[in-house]
Amino acid sequence: MKLLDRLANIDRRLIFLTIGFVVAIPIILKLKMPIRISSEVRSAYETIENLPGGSVVLASMDYDATSAPELTPMFRSFLRQCFRKKLKIVYTGHLAIGLPLAQFDLDAITQECNAVYGEDYINLGYRPGYTAVMIGIGREIRDFFAVDYKGVSVDSFPIMKGVHNYNDIALIVDFAHGSAAEYWIQYVVSRFGVKMFACVTGVMAPTLYPYLQAGQITGIIGGLQGAAEYEMLVGQPETAAFGMPAQSIAHIAIIAFIIFGNIGYFVMKRKK
């Protein structure tokens, strides 16, 4: 019975150690699991698939290294899908510390897909102002982005010909770990009527379901699970799909601890 009493007061350090092991071991053993595709991720995928070639997509990088394990796989799959569909990517961000991170993946995938800077994609860089920039692009993008991230005039690139505001942008895709996705929906989608879907961390995904159900966004790719599903749809499973077994077993471990805690709680309650 002493053991049952202890179940209600397991040392935190034991919990931390267990979680460490259950996450590390599946990664070391390279376990695999089948991935179920959810409707919201499929809908996001179909949104890009249904765009005609040559359409301009605005990608906003609103995450940093803290959320990179979840959002980087989404970004890489997004780039692959867009370049395969011959879409034009205009890329910016509202988190100065996150843009260099995405630059790393942008360079890798553009080399893989033979995308040409200035023709297939352009990096507009960062401007302070956050929602001010989001709303301001609605009138004229050059009011805030007269030059690209290297200081070259955007009008010298073929991709920006005819791209002035949201009327010329077919889709917005936001990669966000905070409230940026909500701001895009509230300030841009509702005001200018642009199509959008969001790629967010697992904790942010439930916040966007009201907007998905209202039809304000066309899809949500949420968390590592969403990233894994997106990777499967694009046809190149990478780190997200690889990480799902570890996440699955970690969830089982947490549930097991919850059950132990409740057993211990009821035993102690009965004693009292």
């Binding site: 803290t66 959320s67 916040t207």
Partner: protein, 314 residues
Amino acid sequence: MTSFEDNNTDIRDGEGYFYFIRTQTISGYQDSPRVGPIISRAQWFNTLRINVLVVTMLVSVLVVYYIRRARAGEKLFIRKIAGLDAIDDAVGRSTEMGRPILYSFGLSYLNEVWTLASLSILYRVAQKCAEYSTRLLVPHYDPLVMSAAQETVKQAYIETGRPDLYDERDSPFLTADQFGYAAGVDGMMMREKPGAVFWQGYFYAESLILAETGHSVGAIQIAGTTSVEQIPFFVAACDYTLIGEEMYAASCYLRPEPQMLGSLKGEDLTKAIILMFLTFGTALGTLGVLLKNFLNVDWPNVIFANLVQWFNTF
């Protein structure tokens, strides 16, 4: 096609433009006569935004109406908010234990409304700390919020008659990095072992790290955030949580002046009207579907669709 909207951004108001239709035929093309000059002008009122104007006027009228009623002496009822009532107890508990209080705005900026709401809660906490001579620690993520918070705390100490207790070093700027801030606050909690911790502001993923550390040092924790996704973590980890608009109500609750209470009452009535409207809309939409499916009657569906469209037009 019977109409054409020219969305070219090079078009200037007040200048005349001419249009014609070019039809492609087998032998070549044929042009219609030129029409124009067509001159664009900005409207004096964007009629697409009537819906926003109506709702804005409704909220404003109700708020002003109840402020006037409150000023006229009418007693307005506000329900108890446990988290705000617990402020005095939390500060008292910390004083008895001889431990300081920690107050955090989270990752808030001064231009955000929840920061202003949090400043009014900080004012109350600072007043109590000055009364009980308890040390108040306020680590910061944003320098502008730091300036405002330092002034608020100083003001509270002066008004309580204890300006000597105010120490600017207890209100430091840590860092503008999310997890750097979380690490800094955690370190502060582990060293100083506060008796009470206030998480009042906007938090992201670091909320659970902060709340768990606060729990591990044995502090009573009162959280308040409008960040909907972090509320479950605070509810799980803290003793009291102000959920969403309860934070905005704090300044009215802690300083029950007529105009503050009146604005709160106006907000409540607006919410009641929205609720009634939602209920009506749900009933109409459901009725529309049922009548369409079983009796092939379409008018409720048409009304519902028009209503939704009116709200969606922007």
